[in-house]
Symmetry: C3
Subunit: 318 residues, 3 copies
């Protein structure tokens, strides 16, 4: 189960109109993951849209009229090239980060991007690094399964995870040190993980599993909503303390509900997640807040538009 | 599988405009279950919205701008207090009943509420009482699994259910009298059910199980729709005969389809169900009837608005 | 998993207005399958709607105000009667074919219908005939599981399928010739299949199974979209070569994704499928292309309307 919560701390979201166009901004993103949602949402808000696309996918993205400009690259890492940064700068672009950016670049590389990044680019390192991630989740008072630092200490069922956003590839379960070593060796021999790769071991917690429902619509019991908001607020508070300027963009807390309706948090994503693609036209929850179809991509664009019109873009970008 | 069918017998649903505002009405409900859907729908129809909320959830509900007034209570049972009834009366409120009302109050208490209740409040007793429930389902010619009155007679797989809307908690399967007694004793020792609690035993019928899909969108084969309408009409007819003034509000028939596409009915709810929350913005079926997003909550509000404008509120409330 | 792809080859889809009404057309279909979606979509586009309905379902369809005229028949085969064809002709009807047409009539009968049929009626024979179907899928370079022509050659798990659109009824798995013969005999004795019925044997390919998700919303990883479009284009190309005038209407490619995200195609439908009913109000993908709710039924109606206004109806009918 994944929660989509956009921080309301900036106080910019609920303003209704864009009353100032002194400086036009555009929305840019990498061609993958949730790019279509993000750029369609930006176009719905009247903003110029720019896609940084690998050449092999040019044909796909040219199908969509709402993409105003495509910057072709051989590899996404060219996002930091002078040519690419200049084009984005000329268009006053705000770059929307998503899972592909994190999966394909190191934290150092992401932090070196000169284009303003929507949300907090510094917190993306905390999403990618298992130890930092756990630290932030604990600071946010989330119920996190116990981490095991040494395979010798495996005394119950654990799940071994890789660093970064690998989409679950190479993850495995183990019930003992022996079991862990055997399975790890097998994955190394298959080339799935590297021989010197450090894995993160976490006590396995059964329940309604995140992965089962990721791409499936789900509505919570209304009685659980209050706790969900509390988790979101605690996460925002902890982020402000540990990673200035805090969580000033969308984020997602991922975990399971057990039979007692207690929530255990496994992961977070400190940016838009691909699971929002199923709500391309708004979700049951967005329709409680907006009287028009509002995807997460469109909501991001609206916040950029409103921040720009009130000269507060620096509050929602890094 | 749950069917959402709103009775069309009152003849009020399809009128398009609210042409008379001599007497303003408001929509009220308890803060839980489907309160957000109901009050958002009422606001979409231009009605004042009132929430009776436990103090601990005030913060949650204050987030939603479409809630005009919150009446804070320590417990929902205060709905019958003079103070609460006076406030609701001053606002010409219609109270929308939902699962939380039924789960937390006796039928006597619900029947004593002086605020007009949307639909038929007398039928809520028939929803809560297993024997009355079975009687109404049989009168409606629904295919209901055979009830077993004495555990001695268990000669096949049965499901033991509690009275009222307990959300399935404490339900269990049993294949013999011994099996039944063992499982019952265990639940008593765990404090889940009471030692003198009378359970309702029903032959277990396998198929596409209701619980699996409750919160998941589902579209029926068009060839099955006719039978669904027939079930709904039979239920409306039986309700009019057994529980005047009949089924003048939304209701839900719950059961399973077996492999031959025959439907077996286990339960009904004689009011809006929480499963409608997933269609906060309308369902595939509502879009066949309405050219605007129409949740069940909004549909209720529209019917109240239209009944009020034509002085027929007494036809849709009790 | 099913893909819904409407051919864009005709170049008619993206025009925005209907600027010519010299000749009014109506949309007709058989009363079953996706008739409600198709006729609601046609009404949304301002076209007259006609339903050919079995008498037993008249009551169901009369509930829906968007159905302008109902032609009652004892059996759908009367679609070729003089009376029926005359009525459709007087209304300049375009008949939308769906699964019920294919399930209840031979290819010869369908081909003899004089009313213009939306899409390519000649390709419906290729959908119904297993050998032709396989030929077209291979020509489209789709990855199709290997067919086994003789039960003697069963050396791995196979699935035995019937001809035509039987909805999976009578399909079975077999791991050897003996196993196949036993299961086949049993189904014959139960009257499910005929003793002289020729079954089509296909190597069984496990993965994310089509049937599990047919009626459930699903959004693909954006990185897989390009391949989906390629499959669709190849299918359009192959159809033009093998079955003139080609695939000039909606179609659906059905199969599974394996763990490596490779797609294996089992089936295709050369017309609208019932799975689109869940997107009665548009899908996540349709909202990328249209700024209004756009079901597949409505999209068909729009294409008819635009083709009619530019005198190109013959390009999208046969």
């Amino acid at each position: 189960m994944k929660f989509l919560i956009i921080s309301q701390k900036s106080g910019l979201i609920h303003k209704a109109y864009w009353y100032n166009q002194n400086r036009l901004v555009s929305v840019a993103t990498l061609g993958s993951h949730c790019a279509l949602q993000v750029l369609k949402g930006a176009k719905d808000e009247g903003l110029k849209t720019i896609l940084v696309s690998e050449k092999k996918r040019e044909k796909l993205y040219k199908r969509f009229k709402f993409i105003d400009e495509i910057i072709l690259v051989d590899s996404f890492s060219e996002i930091t090239s002078d040519e690419c940064q200049t084009k984005l700068s000329e268009n006053n672009s705000v770059l929307i980060p998503h899972g592909t950016l994190i999966a394909q670049m190191t934290s150092e590389k992401i932090e070196s991007i000169k284009t303003p990044i929507f949300g907090n680019k510094w917190i993306l390192r905390w999403e990618s690094d298992r130890e930092l991630k756990e630290k932030l989740m604990l600071e946010a008072k989330l119920d996190v399964p116990k981490a095991i630092s040494d395979p010798k200490d495996i005394d119950r069922l654990v799940i071994a995870k890789r660093q970064g956003a690998a989409g679950g590839k190479g993850y495995f379960m183990a019930s003992s040190e022996d079991d862990y070593n055997k399975k790890r060796e097998k994955l190394i021999s298959q080339g799935v993980i590297k021989s010197d790769e450090k894995l993160y071991l976490q006590t396995y917690h059964s329940g309604v599993l995140a992965d089962v429902h990721t791409n499936s619509p789900l509505v919570l019991r209304e009685s659980l909503l209050d706790k969900v908001y509390k988790m979101g607020e605690n996460f925002v508070d902890a982020s402000r303390d540990l990673v200035p300027p805090g969580m000033n963009g969308p984020f997602c807390i991922e975990g399971v509900y057990d039979e007692e309706a207690s929530f255990y948090t496994f992961e977070f994503s400190a940016r838009i997640v691909a699971g929002t693609n199923i709500y391309m036209n708004g979700s049951p929850y967005s329709s409680l807040i907006y009287d028009e179809p509002m995807s997460m991509g469109r909501r991001i664009a609206r916040e950029i538009k409103e921040a720009n019109s009130t000269n507060q873009l620096e509050k929602i970008t890094t």
